[in-house]
Amino acid sequence: MNLKPIIYVLSLLFMTATAAQAHTPLCACFDNGDNTITCEGGFSDGSSASGVAMRIEASDGTILMEGAMDADSTFTFTRPESDFTVIFDAGEGHVIEVPDRNIIF
């Protein structure tokens, strides 16, 4: 009997559960005063958000921009002309939405 696949699945489950409890995703966005916005992402345990997917969506759900957190866990973009929401997407249970009214000046 080959237990390897079961162990692998169990490990994955365990890892997911641990990760969800150990850290909470964090993302805040700041107006840079030059028509650009910088979002800073991270986790409550201090781990890096480098590589986390970032999306800027219009109010109807249209994707205006897509990218990823850089090496310093930041993402800078030009302010869209219409209403928008920033989405920090680190996977299920780790998604943060920052509506444009919550951008800090």
Binding site: E40, G42, S44, G46, S47, A49, D72
Partner: protein
Amino acid sequence: MKSSFAALLTGTVVLGAATMASAHFQMIYTPEMALEQGGQIPIKLVFTHPFDAGYTMDMGTPEQFFVIRTRGENEPVRTDLKEELKAIEWASLTNTGKAWETMYQARGGDHIFSLIPESYWEAKEDAYIKQNTKMIVNVGGEPGAWHEPVGLPTEIVPLAKPYDRWTGNVFQGQVLLNGEPVPNAEIEVEYLNHQPLLDSNSFAAEPAVTVPQESFAMQTIFADDNGVFTFGIPRAGWWGFAALDLEEDFTYKGQPCSHDAVIWIQAKDIN
């Protein structure tokens, strides 16, 4: 007439006792160490007696005032804030002393405010006092390098986040001189017992607590062999820790100088 004389006498005795029992504390103050979100925050540098809101000393021009910002695993970024300081007058309950203020733009993570003040001549002790001080603000709950030394000549390194203590937690710190632990360091602990009023640069007249006896106004504890001290936090608010006279034979302008290290914590009630 007799009763007013008695009242005056009692007042003098109480005031005298209170002054003797409290200690010098260099403050780096802002209303909130644990901020939900970033923005402009006020910073005040005041050298005072926080438990009594007592005599506030004239600060000279700081030798250094800087902040080290760290966020997650990113490299720390040091920003010099000395040139941003503006001179103010801070009113205690008994006098007015020279102090400093600035506004700071805080984004996410830990912001370790660090001050090397000019030495202060304390005539009553025939010695100078130099209290290198740290205060750490966190924005948004993402931690940084709050537990790393910033490299002050004398420094208290926190072993717990100074901004996340519940009332009833302990706070531990390690006392360092030139980066090395100071065994058995003496530490004075005081509660910030009068609310700082930032608009008027003064302390509220009303104290938060009264003491059953003068020993309670300024508590003295000692570090262990590794320079580590532990303090149980009995009440929400700001608590200051001043490790005293860490460098034997330290002098300033040919006079003895107490080379101290200060750190502040802000505790919250768990409800």
